[in-house]
Symmetry: C2
Subunit: 131 residues, 2 copies
Amino acid sequence: MAQKKEYLSKNQKIVLDIIEKSSQPMKAYSILFNVQKKGLKAPPQVYRALDKLVEIGKIHKIESRNAFIACRNSACTITNATAFSICESCEDVKEISSSKLSKYLSNFQDKEGMKYNKYNLEFFGICKKCK
Amino acid sequence: MAQKKEYLSKNQKIVLDIIEKSSQPMKAYSILFNVQKKGLKAPPQVYRALDKLVEIGKIHKIESRNAFIACRNSACTITNATAFSICESCEDVKEISSSKLSKYLSNFQDKEGMKYNKYNLEFFGICKKCK
DNA sequence: CTGTTATTGTTATATTATAACAATGTAATA
DNA sequence: TATTACATTGTTATAATATAACAATAACAG
């Protein structure tokens, strides 16, 4: 039976663990460097784990930064409907979990009346600390 | 006087021209290939033009695709408040110009009451043609 | 003109990501 | 147990995306 992934493989656990320990997004090669002591030596090992973790919603990719952050929002498991705020000064990234926002975007219709339940939104600004 | 850029340099025109002729996003190295006959031989020449064109709002970067598309939306000159729909099957990309959406997002406040006038939103789905 | 700044050209290299295939592990069952 | 099937891992090489650094040239204000 084609099982639906409910557990994580060894490498996926290792990669998720290091990302969860970071409050901020991590780049793939920084992850690679950090997991080399655990035996993951080559990029494909890291990228495969990242791909799967993104797919199952455990982490998200910050597209504008080519970096990966752990999901802190139980609501977005698997939905791939994500929103972030990014400080352009200190590069601090926060996941936004606003049910109002996600409802608005999931219900948004383009000119042809089409809806999209999958989206990625990145807000940019200067955070309070940096102001 | 530190002039505010109102004109385009030679290379910027060449790069913008090729992007505007394409209805779909173009990748940097595809642009490079296409402008080599015009004398732009090396990546930095293309990337510099791309950077400036993005900065002044003539083109936008589709972050999830590492590709660049001409701006068709007079309203977003310089604001860097952008929204796109992307078909995950045929990779067709459309810029969304909805004043309702842009108002909603520009007025959105996060938990700390912070607003962001700069954002990038990418919607994903399967377009009508591909359904 | 002349000094200043923007732009361009050029080489090299950094960063991000995937292809391809071999080896190993896992789990169901004949 | 042996067998099969499939997922995962390991490994090498390379593709794709992007920038650093500096030299050469052009554009322009004073």
